[in-house]
Amino acid sequence: MSIPLYVLSGFLKRQEEAVEAALKFFLVGSVSSAVLVYGLSFVYGAVRSTDLATVAQASTGIQPFLTLGLLTAFAGFAFKIAAFPFHMWVPDTYEAASTPFVAWLSVTPKAAGFVALFRVYLEGAGDRAAMWMPLAAGLATLTIVAGNLMALPQQNTKRLLAYSGIAHIGYMLVGFAATSASGVAMVLFYLVTYVFGNMGAFLVVEAVARSEGSEATAAFRGLAQRSPLLALAMLLFLLSLGGIPFVAGFWAKLYVFWAAASAGLYWLVLVGAVLSVVALFYYLVVAKRMYIEPPERPERVRLSTTLALAVLLCVAGVVVLGVYPTPLVMAALRAAAPLF
């Protein structure tokens, strides 16, 4: 699964940074795969089966090898979803790889990783799933805090979005920590809003970088005067990622917090809410550059029709889900219900 991703990360093979990022991604990814397989081998040794339903049934009693195996496998999955402290491949890979690929990489493997987590740790576990609550809540806290704090000083928009993406993984882990059907459903909803918000932001970065030859936040200076629609699109994506009403990301954060509060994790909700305010700071730095600072040159940012269409699709997703999230929330609840 990961090998094509390593190759794609180093696709621009004449660029030193791309090769370095691909190598880093490959090494970290290989170690994480090894850790994952090592953990699963303990699980198989303890349960004598690879069937997930059997594993879920077996996790009733105290079985040190099974618990050790599941914990080790959890670390492997944490690498895959880029949770702290297994996130180190993310900023370098995102910075060096081609941006449309990074936009895709920033969402799809993580979505697959979360679904795999649900299947291994929550499906069929019933009330026993709550045993993973402290671990998930702790990892969520660390990931939210670290992702947001590391995003603060970033001057490169791709690195900024990479660290903010790590923080968003933390918010999704808040939903996972609820260990309930509603928690899983809200993570699914979060993933959909994240696809539109995060991919959209990366695609605007691609448009600006093609025009300016730079991915620095300074390249966004005066974008609102040069290309008002593109700046508006970026503002919507940033507001969605920041969780401002009434764009999609607001409901996503609200619902995962609601799921966590329903499970009694009030302290985790508090941490998430406080760090959401911190996140607004670095999102609004980019917004300030676009809307308040003067442009360095007057020309419009030109973008290809297909890129414009992709940005438009993301804007539509962010706005429609911000105004009317109910059908998707209901669909996510229906999808998650059979797990418990």
Binding site: K13, A103, W104, A111, R119, L188, E206, V311, A335
Partner: protein, 125 residues
């Protein structure tokens, strides 16, 4: 021969596999230096699959219960295909020389990753 239930459970994976073969063959056949037309084939193919995914219904477990096509898998696969379509669409206008020359390779790799990742959404073993 796999039964109709197995084919139904694997509909999206089979579709993505067929698209992979198509892109691979197109990459072999196209002689032009600018191979970005392959991106259009991949993008349209993924769009068709994304639309088709709304017709896919939960199916009984296949491969002795190791593969499930339940509500969670279908939801995630729809999300996945939509994200892949947006990613492919955005890359169509990429005029980087390496990308223009090796567009076939790029799209093939994206589709291989997408196929592997959507398989990861359905295991029960």
């Amino acid at each position: 021969m796999p039964g109709p239930d197995v084919v139904r459970a694997f509909a999206l994976e089979i579709g993505l596999g067929a698209l992979l073969v198509l892109v691979f063959v197109a990459n072999l056949c196209i002689r032009s230096v600018d191979r970005r037309v392959i991106g259009w084939i991949a993008s349209w193919g993924v769009l068709v699959l994304a639309v088709t995914s709304f017709l896919v219904m939960p199916a009984p477990p296949a491969l002795s219960g190791m593969f499930v096509q339940d509500g969670l898998a279908i939801f995630a696969k729809r999300l996945f295909l939509a994200a892949t379509f947006i990613g492919l669409l955005a890359a169509l206008g990429n005029a980087h020389p390496a990308f223009v020359r090796r567009a076939g390779e790029y799209h093939l790799l994206i589709l291989v990753s997408a196929r592997d990742l959507i398989l990861l959404l359905s295991p029960s073993s």
